[in-house]
């Protein structure tokens, strides 16, 4: 069922009105009205971002001009250079990338292994245990935050990146395990049996049969986790101490709170730099991304 749904979803843009279909009866003025509504909505949704970029390129005295100027003149590219120096942007970007890449690798590997154990192998008590895994999604981070802090403190991990990426290697994200399990369930069992006939071990089936078939879903999981790490704020806020270990999100907040009279153009330039990679990544992986979101909602 789910497959046909995502399929239908994916082809939505191509599936223009079929003869006799429901939508075919959209009259022309109606279609225009819908377009106008959607267009107005999109402009409204995008305008904060446009404003951010526009502010980022202005000299400070232009940031609060009245009437507001949408296109800065002259365009002040130096803002970016200044912002990059003011917030040690590249150091923070390197920290963020280290955490995000280590965490993403761990998430993809561990959650696929765990999801395999929850979907392709029968064992007693599997479904109740899976329910426990699902229930962990409901546990708010604050519940575990204090003891986790104590645990990491005793390990002398506070101030290092480890609290931020090590848990990912233990299938810590129930949501990703869930997503992968749902996908693994749709792979025909005959493939396993054929591989088993050929003497493939359980791990071999996971490696050689299931993983190669699940690349799109693995990409979704990787993407989700990467974005999560890139945007995470509370984790770094709690675990990181020294300024030179900060992530972008934390560094940005630090930069802002340190400022008295905020130079909005620099702040927006720094924000633009933080947000830009995510926007680019989103544009390139949109299809995968949106499909993954849609998949998560249609568990039935």
């Amino acid at each position: 069922m789910r497959d046909s749904r995502t399929h239908a979803f994916e082809h939505a843009s191509r599936r223009t009105a079929r003869p006799g279909s429901h939508a075919n009866r959209l009259s022309r003025p109606n279609a225009l009205a819908i377009h106008a509504l959607l267009l107005a909505g999109s402009v409204l949704f995008l305008f904060p971002l446009v404003w951010m970029m526009s502010t980022a390129l202005k000299p400070l005295d232009q940031t609060m001009l009245m009437p507001p100027r949408w296109f800065p003149a002259p365009i002040q590219w130096e803002n970016f250079r200044e912002a990059v120096n003011y917030v040690p942007f590249f150091a923070y970007a390197r920290n963020t990338l280290t955490i995000a890449l280590l965490g993403t690798l761990g998430t993809v590997i561990s959650s696929s292994i765990v999801a395999y154990g929850f979907s392709r192998i029968e064992w007693k008590g599997r479904d109740p245990v899976f329910l426990v895994l699902l229930a962990t999604m409901m546990v708010p981070f604050p519940v575990t935050m204090v003891p986790l802090y104590a645990v990491f403190r005793n390990l002398h991990w506070i101030g290092t990146f480890r609290p931020l990426w090590v848990p990912a290697w233990f299938g810590a994200s129930a949501f990703n395990v869930f997503l992968l399990r749902q996908f693994f369930l749709t792979i025909p069992r005959d493939f396993d049996d054929a591989a088993r006939m050929d003497g493939c071990s359980e791990f071999g089936i996971y490696r050689r049969v299931v993983l190669p078939l699940s690349r799109p879903t693995l990409a979704v999981v990787a993407l989700f986790h990467f974005m999560y790490c890139w945007n995470d704020f509370l984790g770094p806020l709690i675990y990181l101490i020294d300024q030179d270990t900060f992530t972008l999100a934390l560094g940005l907040q630090f930069f802002q709170s340190r400022q008295g009279g905020t130079p909005w153009n620099l702040l927006m330039a720094a924000s633009t730099l933080v947000v830009a990679p995510v926007i680019v990544l989103f544009f390139f992986t949109q299809r995968t991304f949106i499909q993954g979101i849609a998949m998560s909602g249609l568990k039935g």
Binding site: M1, F9, A12, S13, T16, H22, A23, A31, I34, H35, L38, G41, S42, F45, L46, L49, W51, M52, T55, T63, M64, M66, P68, S110, V114, G117, F118, I121, E122, K124, L133, M138, P140, P142, T144, M145, V146, P147, Y149, V151, W169, G171, A172, V177, E202, N231, L234, I238, L252, W264, L267, M268, S271, V275, V278, I293, A294, M295, G297, G300
Partner: protein
């Protein structure tokens, strides 16, 4: 003789399969014990203790129920933060759900350029907390922000003392507070009345999430249902209430559960944009918990706060799940 033998072989195969099953989920099991269950238990114990690891020798002493007693009777900030979070959830979740549904319905009319619109509406969802909080802080700034600069333009155009300007300013200021005593402009996050509502308004920027899921749900509804309804003479309105809503209810249900879990954990905006103020009007529950733990180092008390939050989220989720049989419609084919 063959019967028991075959049985034994089968069970041995089962055992082997079970063993490999355990092996595969072992990473999660270890992580669950180390990073979830263990800390949960520890935090339950800590909630009955006074615990301050920042003190020179670190204090840990049993104080019985006094953290909980303090929560319910001695700490006004607990009640304040609870009501702030409840109000945020009660307004923001319905807004996001209905907005997301409305957008999905519009996009589902097979208009051209659906992919472009979808991207535009979804984009804010992928952008992260801090940069976005800073951006909205800038937009909401009462004296320099784009929103108030625009509004000031409108008021100038209407005439500062005209009835029209006052008619426009009144509802805005009723919801979003006053910039200052004799101004027509709203105060947004700088006013006690408007701060929380401004953050709720900002949360509507991310309704793309529920939109995408609703859209997928809508596109899975077989078109034949509508055709049959049309033949029977059902109008658009009837079709919406009798076909779309029932068949979409599992999707709405999913969005609702996710919305409850998410909105009770709002934190970043409160810390970065308003620092919980003005006058604690945006002191979200998790923000209050964080401060107790890591600013005042009352970690035992923070654990008690966190456990209470868990109980709230758990009971609300159970309530939604339990009530779902009343309003969520599952087709027979869908399990």
């Amino acid at each position: 003789m063959r019967e028991p033998n075959a049985y034994r072989r089968l069970s041995r195969k089962r055992v082997r399969e079970a063993a490999s099953g355990y092996l595969f989920i072992a990473p999660w099991a270890a992580g669950f014990l180390l990073f979830t269950l263990g800390p949960m238990m520890a935090s339950a114990v800590l909630s009955f203790c006074r615990y301050d690891p920042s003190a020179v020798r670190g204090t840990l002493e049993w104080v019985g129920l006094s953290n909980y007693a303090r929560m319910f009777s001695g700490d006004p900030l607990f009640w304040k933060s609870l009501s702030v979070t409840l109000r945020y959830s009660l307004i923001s979740i319905p807004l996001q759900l209905s907005g997301g549904l409305a957008l999905a319905l519009l996009l589902n009319r097979h208009v051209r350029g659906i992919a472009l619109y979808r991207t535009a509406f979804y984009l804010p969802m992928v952008l992260g907390g801090v940069a976005i909080s800073l951006l909205w802080l800038w937009l909401f700034s009462p004296s320099q922000g784009l929103i108030n600069i625009g509004l000031a333009k409108v008021f100038d155009f209407l005439g500062q003392d005209s009835a029209m300007a006052h008619l426009l300013a009144w509802p805005l200021q009723a919801v979003f507070g006053k910039a200052d005593a004799d101004s027509l402009l709203p105060g947004w996050i700088s006013s006690e009345r408007g701060a929380l509502n401004s953050l709720i308004l900002m949360s509507c920027w991310t309704l793309g999430g529920s939109m995408i899921i609703n859209l997928a749900g809508l596109q899975a509804i077989p078109k034949t249902y509508y055709e049959a309804a049309e033949i029977d003479g059902a109008g658009r309105w009837t079709q919406f209430w009798r076909i779309t809503i029932p068949l979409l209810s599992p999707t709405i249900f999913f969005n609702l559960v996710m919305g409850v879990i998410g909105s009770f954990q709002v934190f970043t905006q409160g810390l970065i944009m308003t620092a919980g103020g003005p006058n604690n009007s945006t002191c979200f529950y998790v923000l209050n918990t964080y401060r107790n733990a890591f600013e005042f180092f009352r970690m035992g008390y923070a654990s008690a706060l966190a456990w209470f939050l868990f109980v709230i989220i758990l009971s609300l989720t159970l309530l939604v799940v339990r009530s779902s049989s009343l309003w969520v419609f599952y087709e027979a084919q869908r399990r």
